[in-house]
């Protein structure tokens, strides 16, 4: 069915609006999304302090904690959101609306991005100021490009995961849950990924966050290039490829899984 651009833009704004307004009506949100997330990041800083690690490792942890906000956002407010929508009966309403599923997810992402960015900015600023992190930015445009490409790649990945919920329920939910700590480990959120060995790091590079974090470490810290996995320019190129790949695959996965869900009668199946 041909859907018009205006309706889709309206859908994006509407879905994002609910998130931003909904969150701001909850005062507890300020505590849960700003002050509390810094705690576990700070704990990792103190591990390095207990081990008398070089100062740049504190910066690596703060960067990892900051970017972790976006990974959590992708997992819980994008990928797993279709699970909630399905469970509370919204998914079928979305399905009958004349809008693209990608617009809906983009709306979720935009609204969720507001929350994730608040969390990330707080972790970054509080962490950098409290622990006196020294940044030595080599190239700001490259750093910005890496950040945007990483988020785009993650958005594509989130869409890909969300397509699973067209067919599955708790199986997919638990699958998404499983991606938290293991990805923190494999993507090197709190240490340079090359310490995992070349082939493990290469495998983990399928997750845009791995290359994004590694490139950011290389571009933002004096000791970054020494601990980098591969050249930043190569990582930038690989991120572009991953973005295209994930957006393309997720579009088709959404259509395919929706078709399967309809065929098997699982699209509106709740509490499975």
């Amino acid at each position: 069915m041909k859907t018009d651009l205006r309706t889709n833009i309206k859908a994006i704004i509407a879905r994002a609006y609910v998130r931003v307004v909904g969150a701001n009506r909850e005062p507890s949100w300020w505590l849960t999304e700003t002050l509390l997330p810094i705690m576990s990041t700070a704990a990792y800083v103190f591990v390095y302090k207990a081990l008398k690690a070089p100062e740049e490792y504190v910066g690596f942890v703060i960067l990892g904690g900051t970017m972790s906000s976006y990974w959590i956002f992708v997992l819980w407010t994008m990928a797993a959101q279709f699970y909630w929508e399905k469970e509370i009966g919204n998914l079928e309403i979305y399905m009958i609306a004349p809008i693209s599923r990608m617009s809906l997810l983009l709306g979720m992402a935009s609204g969720g991005l507001f929350l994730a960015t608040t969390r990330a900015v707080f972790i970054f600023l509080a962490g950098a100021l409290i622990f006196k992190v020294n940044f030595a930015i080599i190239s700001l445009p490259k750093l910005f490009a890496v950040f945007v490409l990483t988020l785009t790649g993650l958005y594509g990945m989130g869409m890909l995961f969300s397509s699973l919920f067209m067919l599955y329920g708790r199986e997919a939910w638990h699958g998404v849950t499983l991606l938290q700590e293991p990805v923190h480990l494999m993507s090197g959120f709190f240490f340079p990924v090359r310490n995992l060995g070349f082939f493990v790091a290469l495998g983990a590079s399928l997750i845009p966050m791995t290359l994004g974090l590694d490139a950011m470490r290389q571009l933002a810290f004096e000791a970054g290039p020494k601990s980098g996995f591969i050249n930043v320019n190569v990582e930038l190129g690989a991120l572009v490829v991953l973005c295209i790949l994930f957006l393309w695959v997720s579009k088709h996965a959404l259509e395919y899984m929706e078709k399967l869900g309809k065929r098997d009668g699982r699209l509106t199946l709740r509490w499975q």
């Binding site: 507890s28 705690m39 103190f46 081990l51 469970e87 700590e181 310490n195």
Partner: protein, 286 residues
């Protein structure tokens, strides 16, 4: 007779809620996949610290600090999982399954229901802790001698820890009654706070002085020290190392009593507010 009947009733509530919690935790897949799922997350979380340690020390694991970090992190899984298992029930039953109103009108006490729902997580976490410690002993050569572990102290400490965490979980369950579905972040954040302040993965001596005061006010700090002593037989924290086992148990008991009373008061107060303002069965998924 009345007390006996009430006890029987409460045990039945815990048992039924426990069975329900177990079914919800485990019946989404086959037992093999479930077993893999249950051990991957805790192992990954431990391995993050192992890699961090290896990166700095260039592979040296002989230091006492390594065992201290590893064992502390393994037992801290109880905090993350049981806290989540108890407090998330409110959101799950309210927003997700929309059953909380029926639970409230049934002739059971919510406290025991919440505790029962947390049992599945306790069982799973116990398995995860055993596997993590076993992995540490076999692969990472953590110096744990199974013949010299102080088992009575370990069993007592774990039971006390579960009680402390359940009190915290009930406190957060109370808060969840008047907050939206992002109470997930609240539980996660509170776990982070305890992870930071209780010296789960480093001696509390490394913390700034003001944070050490916070640490000393939390029963989980003493609980972690006791489980470490029972497993490793020693402490690397100069501050906590100065206390004997009995002193630690007494301090833990005192701080736990304060926590239990505070948790009860918070839960009851917020529950009243939630019922008064019609928030008890609100839907907040956005």
């Amino acid at each position: 007779m009345r007390i006996l009947d009430r006890t029987k009733e409460n045990i039945r509530t815990i048992r039924t809620a426990g069975r329900l919690g177990w079914a919800m935790e485990s019946n989404w897949t086959d037992p093999f996949l479930f077993a893999i799922y249950s051990i991957v997350r805790p192992l990954a979380s431990s391995l993050i610290l192992v890699v961090m340690y290896y990166v700095v020390t260039r592979g040296k694991t002989g230091m006492d600090l390594f065992a201290y970090i590893y064992v502390g992190n393994a037992f801290f899984m109880y905090v993350i999982n049981v806290l989540f298992g108890v407090s998330w029930v409110i959101h799950e039953d309210r927003d997700h399954y929309q059953m909380i109103r029926y639970i409230y009108i049934s002739p059971i006490r919510m406290y025991y229901y919440l505790f029962g729902r947390g049992i599945a997580k306790m069982i799973l976490t116990t398995v995860a802790v055993i596997i993590t410690i076993g992995f540490g002993m076999l692969v990472l050569k953590i110096p744990v001698n199974l013949l010299s572990v102080n088992y009575p102290l370990l069993i007592f400490s774990v039971a006390a820890g579960i009680f402390i965490i359940t009190c915290l979980g009930i406190l957060l369950a109370g808060v969840s009654m008047i907050t939206a579905h992002h109470s997930y972040a609240l539980t996660e954040g509170m776990s982070g706070l305890f992870y930071l302040a209780c010296g789960a993965i480093y001696p509390i001596d490394i913390l700034p002085v003001w944070l050490q005061y916070v640490s000393k006010a939390l029963p989980l700090t003493y609980w972690l020290e006791l489980v470490r002593r029972s497993v490793l037989g020693k402490s690397v924290s100069p501050t906590l190392g100065g206390y004997s086992d009995v002193q630690l148990i007494l301090i833990m008991a005192g701080t736990t009593l304060v926590l239990a009373l505070f948790s009860h008061w918070i839960y009851r107060s917020i529950e009243y507010i939630a019922r008064k303002y019609g928030k008890i069965d609100q839907l907040t998924s956005y």
